[in-house]
Amino acid sequence: MDQNTSVRHSGRKFQWALRGRVTILFVLVLFVVFFGVTARGFFTKISLENIMVSTALFLLLSLGETYVMISGGIDLSVSSMLALSGMVSGVYISSTYHGTGPAIGITLIALALSLVLGLAGGTFNGLIIANLKLNPLIVTLGTWGVFYGGAELIANGSPVGNLTPFSYVLGNGGPLVGWVVWITLAFVIAYAWIARRTRFGRYIFAVGANREAVRRAGVNLKRQSVGVYALAGLGAGAAGFLSMAHFQTASPVAGSDYLLIAVAAVIIGGTPLTGGEGSIWGTVVGALIISVLENGFVMLNISAFWQLVAVGLTTILAVYFDEIQRHFQIAQAARRNTA
């Protein structure tokens, strides 16, 4: 009885999960207001759509990267998986489509091809990291080269255009915000759901916090690792197809600008490099912050160089504030425990 009350007594509900996210949501709102005031036409339909589409393409890389980084790893090969899967499905389309009809079948097969390829590439990463127990930074730096090299070989030196009309529709049409954004949103919801509602998702966090504890809890760590990197690859595969469909060209160097901002979005979104915590929704906000910055700068006619500087500085600031907040929370908890 007595003990029961002591458990309930201290049962003040803390909104732990919310704390970090509120701050960056506030930063996003701040940037939106700033560019809304300073950049003419920022709040027009075309500008907002632009922001959403440009967010979608690299956000698909950031989703799986969030999993990888929460579990304490890093995947530098996501952009190269985008290039390889886009390239393969582009070559597939251009070699089977002969310019008649919308070619829905061919396009969907190309989409499936991209997804399977991304999944395979990610699984390959995961198998090497889990079985050879190698540092993920080194492994994915290696496969980054392998996948980009593969894309170059398949492209045989030149990008592929001349794609199907249906791929144009998927990349640039669709209700309201367009298919690219809807498809990305579906991925966001699925990845957020997996992270929060499944055992696999729970272990992503647990592995990042204490790998040995998870091992002793009897979880198959190899399968867990492979799953995480495979899902990073799957997102990259989707991004590969969609960026090909959006730009109507498959290029062996596609996505090379995305790696940095894909990782930055995860960090700005509140996932620390040390792993153990983070969230898909945080990453979404992080990605939006980057896109708003980039698009806002373009509208203000500020050079691309300054965009990079701004994204870099935002990332560093995000890490800094995160650190301050963590210290504050720990100090607060310590006070509560001694009280």
Binding site: Q3, G11, R199, R202, A206, E212, A213, V214, G276, N337
Partner: protein
């Protein structure tokens, strides 16, 4: 029913270090305490019993049968729960998430197993109350907990799954006096209810007070086995550091019954 739990001739080495050598112990019912100097091999033995490490040689007998404990899942299926020296908690997960780590309660939605947070919160409630160390809200990440509270989480995890054998590796090392006494009373209740407890500790007075049987290890070997009423702190310390040499001197009765 044969409820025997014992190890026979266990040996284990790590790259050059002989951590355990010819270790044979019958764990009687009640509380068996294992004492010994740093590096004596106590944690290694506990890890072998919980399936985290594998012995190079030797057998483990559980309920009268020789068993192979390849991994922690098998240990749990055999009813062996562990509380590790380093606690093995995931810092960013909350109290309930840690209690159920690896054994989450799930429900099926459209055929997909989904975490059942409510069921886990409900199931955790009673057990958390039983460990008697005031815990903050169970949704608090464990990194915000004090040493004693973290200990309570690890103990609650072992309690919830109703162990037949409970392995404790220095469970009170990080606790204050109040928390230690709360902890020991929970362990005594468990022992009374029939759980076989194996406890590694450096707290010699505690050993003499609580244990039903004391095993002393030194440099990977068993050097003595005594009953608490037949020994003293001085004698135990002498065994631990090696100034009192052989098993024969310590406990003739034990040699007789175990040969």
């Amino acid at each position: 029913m044969d409820e025997q739990f014992s190890v026979r001739q266990i040996a284990k080495s790590y790259a050059g270090v002989q951590a355990l050598q010819d270790v044979t112990i019958d764990f009687a019912s009640g509380l068996t305490a294992i004492v010994g100097d740093n590096g004596a091999g106590k944690s290694t033995l506990m890890k072998i019993l919980s399936g985290v490490e594998h012995p190079d040689r030797g057998t483990i007998v559980h309920n009268g049968q020789s068993v192979t404990i390849d991994n922690p899942v098998i240990a749990r299926k055999l009813g062996i729960e562990s509380l590790y020296q380093d606690l093995a908690l995931a810092d960013t997960l909350n109290v309930i998430e840690n209690m159920f780590l690896g054994r989450e309660i799930v429900t099926r939605r459209f055929g997909i197993p989904v975490l059942d947070e409510r069921a886990m919160a409900q199931a955790a409630g009673d057990t958390l109350a039983r460990v008697r160390i005031g815990l903050p809200h169970p949704k608090t990440p464990v990194r915000y907990l004090s040493g004693g509270q973290r200990q309570a989480v690890a103990l609650a995890r072992a309690l919830y799954f109703k162990a037949q054998v409970l392995l404790l590796d220095e469970p009170t090392a990080a606790l204050g006096p109040k928390e230690t006494s709360a902890f020991t009373s929970v362990i005594k209740e468990l022992v009374d209810s029939g759980t076989r407890v194996v406890m590694v500790t450096h707290n010699i007075p505690q050993v003499i007070e609580m244990a039903d049987s004391i095993v002393v290890m030194r440099a990977g070997r068993i050097v003595a086995r005594v009953a608490p009423q037949d020994t003293s702190e001085q004698q135990l310390l002498a065994f631990m550091v090696g100034s009192q040499e052989t098993i024969e001197e310590a406990s003739p009765q034990w040699i007789k019954t175990h040969q």
